[in-house]
Each structure stands twice: as C-alpha cells, then as structure tokens.
C-alpha cells in the first residue's frame, strides 16, 4: 500500500501516461473490493499528477531550495568559487546602498503606477459600462496595448520620449514649455517609465472592473431610480461601494505586479543602469549576469522574495481585518 504512489509515479513518468492509466482503470468491470478500489484510485491519481508534479519539483521547488543554498556561497557564473560563505552575501546586500536604492525605486514605482492604474481603469470601466455605443472600439483601444511585448512598448515610448523629435516634447512645445530629455534626465526617467506602464497595462484592470460592474444587479439601479436617485447619486451610493471587493483584488494584483518591475525599465533605458530607475529585479540581474556573482544575486533574489511575501501577507491581513470589522 505504501509503495503505491511511487509505483504510479514511475509509470506516470513514461510518455504514455494516457495508455497506462487506461490499462490500470479498465479492470474496474470486476466486482471491486474496497481495498483494491482505493489502491487503484491512488495509482490513477498519481498517473494524473505525475507530469505536473515532476515539472513542479524540478523547475519550482528545487530552484527555490537550491537558490537558498547558492545565496550562502560565493558561486560565480563562470563556475569559479562555490565555497560556503555563510550569511556574508546577505550582510553585504543589506549594507549595500545600491540594494536599498533599488528597493526604494521599486517601491516608488509601485506607488506611482498603482494609483493611476487603478483610478484610470475605474473611470474607463464606469464610462464604458454606461452602454455607450462603440463597445468593441473602447475595449480594443484600452486593452490592446496589454497584449504587446515589452520590447514593442519600449521602442514606441523611447521614440515618443526622444528629446529632439519625440511626440512628448512636441506636446510640451505646443503649450510653450521647454523640451525635456525625459529618459536621460534622472528627475524624469521614472515618470516616463510610469506613463509608458500605465498606457501598457491599464487595460487588464479595466477588464476586471468591467466584469465587476456587470455583476451589479440591475434591480439595485431600478430601485434607486424609483427612489429618485440620479446618475451621480447611483454612482456614489451603488456603483462605487459595490466595486469594493473588486478594487481590493485589483489593488493587490497591481501592487504585486508592479513590484516585479524590470522589462520596460531595463529596455526603455536600453540596458543603461540608472540610479533612479534600477529596480530590485534589475539589480538581481546585474549582480548575477553582469557582475557574474551568482551567490550575491541569489541573496538579493531572496530579499526580493521576502519583500513580495511581506507585502502580500500584509495586504491579506488588512483585507481580512477589514472584513472582520464590518
């Protein structure tokens, strides 16, 4: 009995999972004993699970464990080193101003991007939900950028923010303002990245809000309408409060997504490392693949991982506490 899972794992690992499973199960025409049925169910279960679980262990569980080990060594990308150095990498990372700067940039980007990514999406969804003609056009315009690769996004926005010929400065000039070297200037490059990111990803939140809006029962509006509530009143007293749970979900997903900033920031600056835009993922990449220090980079990975977990748990706690208070 105890060996059943292992046996099944072995058979399930074969490329002919389907045939194996069927062969095992077709015996079920016979009158079943409880024990044999149970045993068969175990075998079948493991045949179903094996392909995913093997990949899960190989490419998720094992890297997590191995990464922790690496973070305690001075392993380099070039294969040298690998000796155990204890917590030295963590000590170094936590006393490294660049690490803290990258962490700060990441958090600043998360704040700067989450606010418009939630508010703009809300405005878009509320307006589209009013049944204004041209649904496909609104959905296409707002959501299409989300499907584009970060490379495409970066190329378009680098060109828009080009100091000499870019559209952004053409607009500034039209308003009589001085042109700005958006991406080259340390005071503005983060804002340029935020603008590009909002344009790129707002469509996803927009669709989530739109789905939430369509779940609000029409009767509520009808009842409010009978009571003489106008559109504004309905918006504030029905729509916005009913969107509470959706807003919580969208903010949580957005914060966790924004903390993973890398692609567009790296590519819009063409790989140049800027102290004002370097994210924690970018620092991890630079330490490991530019500086060749795998061990140090792995330590930063786990500091990043911890940040994600802490913020995720904090969000979950705030949400559950608010629910309890209600």
């Amino acid at each position: 009995m105890t060996t059943a899972p292992q046996t099944a794992r072995a058979t399930g690992a074969a490329p002919t999972t389907g045939a194996t499973t069927r062969a095992i199960v077709t015996g079920s025409a016979h009158p079943r004993r409880v024990g044999s049925k149970n045993r068969r169910e175990q075998l079948v279960s493991w045949a179903f699970l094996a392909p995913f679980m093997i990949a899960f262990v190989l490419f998720l569980v094992w890297p997590i464990i191995h990464g922790i080990y690496l973070s305690f060594t001075d392993q380099s990308l070039t294969g040298t080193g690998g000796g155990f150095v204890g917590v030295a990498n963590y000590v170094e990372a936590l006393s490294d101003p660049t690490m803290w700067r990258s962490m700060g940039n990441t958090l600043w980007f998360t704040v700067l991007s989450t606010v418009p990514l939630v508010l703009v999406a809300l405005v878009m969804a509320v307006l589209v939900d009013r049944g204004i003609p041209g649904q496909w056009l609104w959905r296409l315009s707002f959501f299409m950028p989300f499907l584009l690769a970060s490379t495409v996004i970066s190329q378009i926005w680098v060109w828009i923010f080009n100091p000499q010929i870019g559209a952004a400065n053409n607009i500034l000039k039209a308003f009589g303002m001085e042109p700005i070297a958006w991406l080259q200037n340390a005071d503005t490059n983060m804002y340029a990245i935020v603008i590009a990111t909002v344009w790129w990803t707002v469509g996803f939140n927009f669709l989530l809000y739109l789905a939430a809006l369509q779940n609000i029962p029409a009767q509520q509006y009808e009842a409010a309408s009978l009571d003489g509530a106008g559109p504004w009143r309905q918006l504030w007293s029905i729509t916005i409060p009913q969107l509470g749970p959706a807003t919580v979900l969208i903010v949580m997903l957005q914060v966790l997504a924004s903390l993973k900033l890398f692609d567009q920031a790296y590519q819009m600056l063409n790989g140049v490392s800027s102290d004002t835009t370097r994210s924690i993922v970018q620092y991890m990449y630079e330490a490991g693949f530019v500086g060749y220090r795998f061990g140090f980079s792995a330590a930063i990975s786990y500091i990043f991982f911890a940040l994600i977990v802490i913020i995720g748990v904090a969000q979950a706690l705030v949400v559950s506490r608010r629910r309890n208070l209600r």
Binding site: L49, W62, M124, R139, F142, I156, L208
Partner: protein, 300 residues
C-alpha cells in the same frame, strides 16, 4: 450516454452579457454625451502612440528623423522600412522561434495542468489537501526570483542555448492548475458517474467528458499562456545567447542599438512584432475578455 446531449445542461450556452443602459440614463442626456466625449478622448489617447508608430513606420528615415509632427512624411508613405526589416534574415527566424516555443509551452502547460487539476478536483488520494496547498503556494513565487538557480540548473543540464532550456522552466504555472480545478469542480459529477457505470475509466472520462465540457476555460488558459510566452522577455533573454535561437522580443532588443537612430525601421519592427498579437486579439476577443473577467490572471 452521449456527451453532446448533456452539454447544454452542464454549461448553459454562454450569453454575451449586453451592457444594459442603467436606469436614469436618458439616451441623449447631457451626462451620456459627456461620458461619450471623455471616452472618445481617452480612446484617442490610448490609440495614438500605436497609430503614430504605424505612421512613422511608413516614413522614410529622413522624414522620421525630422521630428515634424505630421502623419505622412514629405516624401509620402513608403514601405522601405518594412522591406529593410524583413530582408534582414533573422526576423523570420526569430518569429519562427517565438511561434514554435510559445506553442510548445502552451501545449505542455495545458496538458500537465489539466491532468493535475482533474486529480485535485475529482480523485481521492492520500495527501490531496496538503499537496494542493503546496501547489497553490507556488502561485506567490515570483518567477524573477528564481532566475539564478534556474539558469544554474540549465547550465548543469546543458540546456542553455536550446529550445528546451527556453521551454521547460515556463511550463510550471500553478495558477493554471488552480483555475482549471475551480472549473472542473463545477462540472456536474452525475455525468461522470453515468459514464463510470458504463465502464469508462478515469482517463476516458477525463478525455471524453470533462475536457469537451471545459473548452471555454481551456481556450482562455491557452490564450493567456500563449500571450505570456510570446511576450516573455527576461527568461529568453537570459537563457538564449545564440542569435539564431532568439525569440522575437529578445532578437529585436539586441538589434535596437544597431538601428539606433533609424526610427522608421525601429517602428516597423515594433509594428511587425505587434501584428500577430493584434490578430490573436481580434479573433479571440470574446475569450480573452471573458478569460480576464473570470480568472483575473494575465501575463506581465
């Protein structure tokens, strides 16, 4: 029992929910006109960067670099930038690499996730609860945090600079198992019991009853995995150094510095890389919108 006969019971014909006009909205009230105006402005704002990129891709390099904000350059529209890009041999190769690896990632992810999700949803085995909890915990792991050990692993398996090195680490997506399990939980168990009485085995039931009923969710999952794989940048960027094995996003990124100031060509590249996904969106618009709405997951 036939699956077709019961399909309408299990999954009511999906109705595209109309956007009902909220009571209190007069057809041409001032608020509706204002809302329309705001929407139109926003839509223009969102389309403009892309349309501007398309317009520039059709300019000559001189017109593109002149910086005058006109839609059509002085020399008139030309497809020179596109021919220049497409004759640059590697673009087709990169597009093929992107397509081949994205299809492989989608197929493998879908197959292994669906099988596991079915086991978690329907099969009774020891340790089911805690094993599922472990898989679900995997959702919070940011893939970016694993690049170092994964790269090390690919080095050890000799998979750096290979298709498999690109594909394998991308097929483990615990969120897909969760989403598929949620859906399988909702499939009426009576359908399966009937088949079981007829002597069908578990795999048979999974293959000919559960999967056909799950087409909408399978399509949504497939589309999202595909888009995510097609657009992924960080992992392909790290694991592939051989120019002939690069995916489109990575390949394009590497030649940007080479094209640097050739704005029309850079924009032509961007437009070409975007076209397949715009086509996917136009064809699968309903599934994509529904997929986001019901599952709340996506790429980036």
């Amino acid at each position: 029992m036939t699956v077709t006969a019961t399909r309408s019971i299990a999954v009511p014909a999906a109705k595209e929910k109309a956007h009902p006009r909220k009571p209190g909205d007069r057809p041409f009230g001032p608020l509706r006109i204002a809302a329309f105006a705001v929407l139109l402005l926003m839509a223009i704002g969102w389309l403009l960067p892309f349309l501007w990129a398309v317009a520039t891709a059709f300019k000559t390099e001189n017109d593109a670099a002149s910086g005058s904000p006109t839609w059509i350059g002085e020399s008139g529209p030309t497809a020179d930038a596109f021919t220049a890009i497409l004759s640059q041999g590697n673009v087709w190769l990169w597009a093929w690499n992107s397509l081949a690896t994205s299809v492989a990632i989608t197929a493998i992810t879908l197959a292994i996730s669906a099988l596991a999700a079915y086991a978690f949803s329907r099969l009774d085995f020891r340790g089911r609860k805690w094993l599922f909890a472990v898989v679900i915990a995997g959702i919070v792991v940011p893939p970016q945090a694993l690049i170092i050990p994964l790269f090390y692993q690919m080095l050890a398996f000799n998979l750096v600079d290979t298709y498999w090195g690109l594909i394998l680490p991308q097929v483990v997506v615990p969120a897909m198992v969760f989403i598929l399990k949620q859906f399988f939980d909702g499939v009426p168990i009576e359908l399966e019991d009937a088949a079981r009485v007829d002597g069908a085995g578990r795999f048979r039931i999974f293959w000919s009853i559960v999967l056909p009923l799950s087409r909408p969710i399978l399509a949504a999952v497939a589309i999202f995995v595909f888009i995510g794989a097609w657009n992924n940048f960080l992992w392909p960027f790290l694991v592939i150094n051989d120019t002939t094995l690069m995916t489109l996003p990575v390949g394009l990124q590497t030649v940007i510095s080479a094209y640097g100031v050739q704005y029309a060509q850079v924009m032509a590249q961007a437009v070409l890389a975007a076209l397949p996904l715009i086509a996917v969106f136009l064809v699968f618009q309903k599934q994509i919108v529904k997929g986001v709405a019901t599952t709340g997951f996506g790429g980036q």
